[in-house]
């Protein structure tokens, strides 16, 4: 038994989500190899080569893989999949795009968003926006899995030393062309990796008012998120959305401000260790999952919180 983990990265930096997938792979048992597909991503390979749990790192470095186009990366993975019992990636938008394509090429029913490994073929995963947990057993010879990053601790990132193998297969199907991207630039930590997340909802009333959250976030070293309502209202961009169809977060501290607590939002944050809810509606469902609730007007609370934290 052995597992191929697909690395998540941006050609410059190995994404910490990869380390969660490695932990899941360790629970499956057997050797773990890491596959990096990218362009001019040598530095990523160097970062990966010191991850202790790995057996080897394979790198396919070609412009066809630079923008993580699923059409090109899926056949590369399949071409290198023959000796593995499991192919695993963390359920980021990149992996969610690629892994089902891999599974179909292998004629395998993929299993998405696993929250727990019970055995090499049996897994738990949330369904219905996390309102239920299903236990599923796969009878496919190869298991193609995405794992929920927040459900697995990060494996240690350094201390090892493994060989880097170069893959020279190039798959460029020529059916998909990268046109451009608009990536959010932020000095704050990434939502899914942050220890503290502070999120705003419809109650923030405008995008400008998110400044109140940014100020607190900067004091706490926190990432800033939002509910779907706040994104749909145009207050903030979609990449800040926490919830069933946005990002799944499980920080040490989650502060929900002006968020009512629709189940789709709770699905994205209820595994957080400590949850604080600030909402003027004391009947808001968010209080049912909060460890600490404060029923008050956020426009009074936030400046006060900022000043008390700065003391």
């Amino acid at each position: 038994m052995s597992t191929l983990v697909i690395a998540e990265h941006n050609n410059k930096q190995l994404n910490a989500a990869t380390l969660n997938a490695i932990t899941a792979a360790k629970q499956l048992g057997g050797n773990i190899d890491l596959l990096i597909a990218g362009y001019e991503c040598d530095v990523v390979a160097q970062q990966a080569a010191i991850i202790p749990s790995l057996n080897k790192v394979m790198v396919a470095d070609n412009c066809a893989y630079g923008h993580f186009i699923a059409e090109n990366i899926a056949p590369l993975i399949v071409d290198n999949a023959h000796s593995y019992s499991h192919i695993v990636a963390t359920a980021t938008t990149t992996a969610k795009n690629i892994m089902p394509r891999v599974a179909a090429l292998l004629d395998v029913q993929a299993i998405s968003d696993i929250s727990s490994v019970l055995s090499e073929d049996t897994f738990k995963r949330p369904i219905y926006a996390g309102n239920l947990i299903a236990t599923v057993q796969s009878s496919d010879p190869v298991k193609v899995l995405t794992i929920r990053g927040t459900a697995f601790d990060a494996a240690s990132a350094q201390g090892g030393s493994v060989n880097i193998e170069t893959l020279d297969q190039v798959y460029d199907l020529g059916i998909t062309t990268f046109v451009g991207e608009q990536l959010a630039k932020s000095d704050r930590p990434e939502l899914t990796a942050a220890n503290i997340v502070i999120s705003g909802g419809r109650g923030m009333a405008s995008g400008d008012n998110f400044d109140l959250l940014y100020k607190i976030a900067d004091q706490l070293g926190a990432a800033v998120g939002a509910s779907r309502a706040a994104v749909d209202a145009g207050f903030v961009p979609n990449d800040m959305q926490v919830g069933q169809t946005g990002k799944i977060v499980a920080p040490d501290l989650y502060i929900a401000v002006g968020i009512s607590g629709a189940i789709q939002h709770l699905a994205g944050m209820k595994e957080s260790k400590v949850i604080v809810a600030i909402n003027k509606d004391e009947d808001a469902p968010i209080f049912a999952v909060a460890d600490y609730g404060l029923a008050a007007d956020l426009f009074t609370v936030l400046p006060e919180l900022e000043s008390q934290l700065s003391k």
Partner: protein
């Protein structure tokens, strides 16, 4: 240009689902069913493309029980021209759905295949990618904007770090995200008209596709519940609790 839209019948998003008495599956008895919200967005996008004159025909397809005719009629009322139901009495997995759709695509030769990025029951987020894979064609997943060009389609995708724009050669599979559009309500005249539109029912066996399941559902349970917390009186008390009780800030 021809569009095929795949729709799924799912438990209505407002329903709070529960396990059945034996915890073997989801309790679906007497539960309100609806068209999957992401699929509804896919239908709406197809209709908008037709209204722009880009698309000439919209075929709505569903794979499932005979009751899925309701969701196909909804799609017809929203503006699809005709519908095909592939009847299956067994629950059918994404890979098998993709194989059924592939078979229909080979018959119908659509230029664009639209569907929701995921169904809100299984939350798998697989079928579109699998279909594109089986067809060997381009895929645009989690799409929030669509622009049809000559022989290609430009899509804006919602990705973790922001937005990505790709140009896909046709035929292509597009899976819809929430912000692609806001679906219209079907008008009463259109609901009446939809009853006259053609809806063909075929059996999954007739397609000659092996749809036997690859996974077995071993059980369903509610997630662990959080203990109810406490209400604090003011910001000072909150900060004190976070520092000294929860110890999550310093």
């Amino acid at each position: 240009m021809k569009v095929l839209v795949a729709v799924k019948r799912v438990v209505d998003y407002n329903v709070k689902v529960r396990p059945n008495s034996g915890n073997t599956n989801v309790d679906l008895a007497n539960v309100k069913m609806s068209i999957n919200p992401f699929c509804e967005i896919a239908v709406e996008e197809a209709v908008r493309l037709k209204e722009k004159g880009v698309v000439t025909e919209i075929i709505a397809v569903s794979i499932g029980s005979l009751q899925s005719q309701e969701q196909l009629r909804t799609s017809l009322a929203l503006g699809a021209d005709r519908a095909i139901l592939i009847e299956s009495n067994q629950p059918i997995e994404p890979l098998a759905v993709a194989k059924c759709l592939k078979s229909l695509c080979e018959e119908e030769r659509p230029d664009i295949i639209l569907m929701g990025k995921q169904a809100i029951d299984g939350d798998n987020n697989q079928t579109g990618q699998m279909l594109a894979s089986l067809l060997g064609c381009a895929q645009g997943t989690f799409v929030s904007e669509v622009q049809v060009e000559e022989g290609a389609i430009a899509v804006t995708r919602e990705i973790d770090g922001g937005l990505q724009t790709l140009s896909l050669k046709l035929p292509a599979v597009i899976t819809t995200d929430l912000r692609l559009n806001e679906p219209r309500y079907a008008s009463l005249p259109n609901i009446m008209k939809a009853k006259q539109k053609p809806l063909v029912i075929r059996s999954v066996d007739d397609l000659g596709i092996d749809v036997s399941p690859r996974t077995q559902l071993m059980g369903v349970e509610p997630p662990s519940q959080r203990e109810a917390g406490i209400m604090v009186a003011d910001v000072s008390q909150l900060v004190d609790k976070l520092k000294n009780e929860a110890k999550v800030i310093s």
